[in-house]
């Protein structure tokens, strides 16, 4: 016993110089938990082991330490109640600016229903996504719920083929997300406005959107495209539940753009060739491809102007106008409004033609500079010939002895 006490003293001396808990009995045995815990925000706020686990922190040995209102390691269901005992209390959370609806949300989620109603212990509880002891702020890059860590956190279960087989869920979501526009924006460009898993599915209330919800989920960010979509025939069909909203043409986790030259192919998935809808799709593709080409040639024209030493501020400003119209083409595609599309494509084409014209004039003037060679060499050769004759005359007449 005295050996145990001595060990406990040493462990305390090693583990706890900064915190004033040298008299805290739990770390006599659970030094590893303490090391994890002190990094987190709970430790900062003065929460101690016994606030969650109960027991007697002033005792240094079993069984005295595990007496009292001792909880130990709570089970999955008990964990939800335990966390909720503080986090569902608005009066306690208000001071930290934290929401208090997580447990209520969790009950509505697929995770919560499986755990709390189905008593399925494979379903996650709070501590499966947030660590039990290392509770970090979401803006701490080490946190499991930091934006770039969320996909990995979800993948801990959702990439587990054996586990997902039980719920008949696919396991390729995270992989496809990484390659998607959203994944590239998040990981490569560190753009935290880009949605992670929880951006579309919700975090505590995690559920896949239903068919009629999909368009609304995407429209939260893609507002203008969403408005255009709602105006068009596809939007009406989506809200009637006849097509799966945006997923008719784009995929959910892959979220790839339909390239300009593949628009008609996307239409052909539902509309047979020769139908008026497919003809409209072909028309839209033609406009989009043309506008892309026009925009590219406008870029080339600006580069040419720049190389010729022209000031390109005005040209770049006009290019921005063309770019805005071009982006609006992408929106107009979603309403299938051919007239608006034609109008926007015309704007792009007109600006591009102007810029090409400016580049052409600059190029022509650069070519005209070469015409200077004609008078220069005429004068030079004439002077040389005259000088040569003058020399012959002078030296023939005894200029040189």
């Amino acid at each position: 016993m005295s050996g145990g006490l001595m060990l406990a003293t040493i462990a305390m001396a090693l583990a706890a110089p900064a915190q004033q808990d040298t008299a805290y009995g739990c770390v006599a045995c659970h030094a590893d938990k303490r090391a994890a815990f002190v990094q987190g925000v709970h430790a900062e706020r003065g929460i101690r082991c016994h606030d969650c686990h109960g027991g007697d922190p002033s005792a240094y040995a079993l069984p005295a330490a595990h007496r009292g209102r001792f909880v130990g390691a709570p089970g999955k269901v008990a964990t939800v109640a335990l966390c909720g005992s503080c986090h569902s209390d608005p009066n306690r959370m208000r001071q930290y600016g934290l929401p208090s609806g997580q447990v209520a949300e969790f009950r509505t989620s697929r995770h919560g229903r499986l755990l709390l109603m189905g008593h399925d212990l494979d379903a996650p509880t709070c501590t499966d996504c947030h660590d039990a002891h290392t509770i970090l702020r979401p803006d701490d890059a080490r946190s499991t719920v930091y934006p770039t860590n969320i996909p990995t956190t979800c993948a801990r279960c959702h990439e587990d083929k054996r586990l997902m087989a039980k719920y008949r869920l696919p396991t390729d979501q995270v992989e496809r997300y990484r390659l998607s526009a959203h994944g590239v924006a998040l990981f490569r460009n560190q753009n935290f406005a880009s949605p992670t898993c929880v951006g579309c599915h919700g975090s505590h209330s995690a559920l896949p959107p239903t068919v009629s919800e999909i368009a609304n989920v995407c429209e939260r960010c893609h507002i203008l495209v969403g408005q255009a979509f709602d105006r068009g025939p596809h939007g009406r069909a989506a809200h009637a539940g006849k097509i799966a909203g945006c997923l008719g043409c784009h995929s959910n986790h892959g979220t790839e753009r339909v390239p300009a030259d593949r628009i008609a192919a996307a239409c052909a998935k539902c509309h047979a060739a020769g139908t008026s809808a497919h003809t409209l799709g072909t028309q839209i593709q033609q406009r989009a491809v043309e506008a892309t080409e026009e925009l590219r040639s406008a870029q080339v024209a600006i580069a040419q102007l720049s190389l010729a030493g022209r000031q390109t501020g005005d040209a770049r400003f006009r290019y921005q106008t063309a770019l805005t119209a071009y982006e609006q083409i992408a929106q107009a595609q979603h309403s299938l409004d051919a007239e608006q599309l034609d109008d926007l494509a015309r704007q792009v084409r007109s600006i591009s033609r102007d810029l090409r014209g400016m580049a052409g004039v600059a190029e022509e003037q650069r070519w005209e500079h070469k015409l200077l060679l004609v008078p220069v060499w005429f004068l030079a050769l004439a002077s040389l010939v005259l000088a040569w004759f003058a020399l012959r005359h002078l030296e023939g007449a005894g200029g040189r002895p």
């Binding site: 994944g183 997923l247 022209r310 500079h369 200077l372 060679l373 002077s383």
Partner: protein, 426 residues
Amino acid sequence: MAGRFRRATAKWAAQFWADLKASTDAGLLGILRFLGLLYGPIDARLPIDQAFRKSLGYRLAPHVGWRHALGGITYLLFIILVITGVLLSVHYRPSAQEAYPSLQHIVSGVTLGWLIRDLHVWSASLLVLAVLAHMARVFFDAAYKPPRETNWLVGVLLLFLVLAFGASGYLLPWDQWAYWTVTEALNALATVPLVGGAAVAVLRGDPIVSGATLSRFFAMHVIVLPWITLALVAFHFTMVRRHGVAPLRNATAEPGRGRVFFPSHLLRSFMVAVVTCAVVISAAALWPRPVGEPADPAKLPEIVRSTWVVVDVSRALTHYLGAWGFVGFTLVALGLAFVPLFDRGPERDLRRRPAVAILGLVFFVGFVAAWMAGRQLRSGPPPEALPAASEASTPPPAAGAPLPELGPTPTRAAPPADTTRAGGPR
């Protein structure tokens, strides 16, 4: 009293008229005198006219030929650079904000601004070639031997000034090519032991190439270097007149037996000048220096185009021979510069001076070869850090390579993405 004054005035007027008539003979000088430009009545008291006639009648050494025009071509190119440089300075603004726009204005807004600017660019390159050709002529003719060794060393100093002119002028366009070439050159200079770091700190004036660097380079280019050069050129020419043109082979100098300066030699000089000017104007009109993207310290350009012959040579040397190749070639050049201190014998025949001939051949042929090779690298990718550059100095952090792209950390090897599938809600 009044009578005396009238008589004196009349006498003076009569004398003036007589002087004017006497000095106004037919010929070029006569016309100048008639217009009052030259020594008419003044010459009655001062013998300027005679001095002028004497100097025009100066006879050159008989062996003076076309190859002695190389020094004159160099001087003419220098004059072109001074004139175009003054014109450029009217519109150029040496600040990081205004340099690039003012350059665009010169090239596309100012009347004939493009010509002035491209003449300046091309003269700067051709000047280096002309200087080296002039030096090669002097070297192989052994014209550096006593008593002319001082003038050779002055010439070497002038070569360094030409290089300093080009290096300081290189940054002024303030486009990406200029910016990153200067950054690279300063990083390389910082690796020189002992003095490199301090020299770069003074030249750059900031942890990266910035507006402070631009001001320093501009002040060097238009104020410091021109005055030093002017003084040295004056000294160089005075020494040439004092010593005369070096004799050929083992012959002794025979002044006064060759061609007369005016008009025979002057007409020949005129022909050389006409050809030089026509060549420079042609090069400027046919191959204008393009304007790169504006300088951006945060972005490495995809290509760096070199626009000065010396940069071509340096890039070729470091690219094909490495940093030590560059150092070795510089040592050969320095050896060449100090040959006159050791090679002082009377022998002037190249065949009897094999060691000196080989040294000269290595340098001059090597320079031309490196230039040709460097032109192939003109539009290459940005200059990389020299292999030997890492230990000796700490290059500025902001001017280094861009940060590596942060990609997602794959949890396992990714199979090709299935982009055609549009999955439904799950």
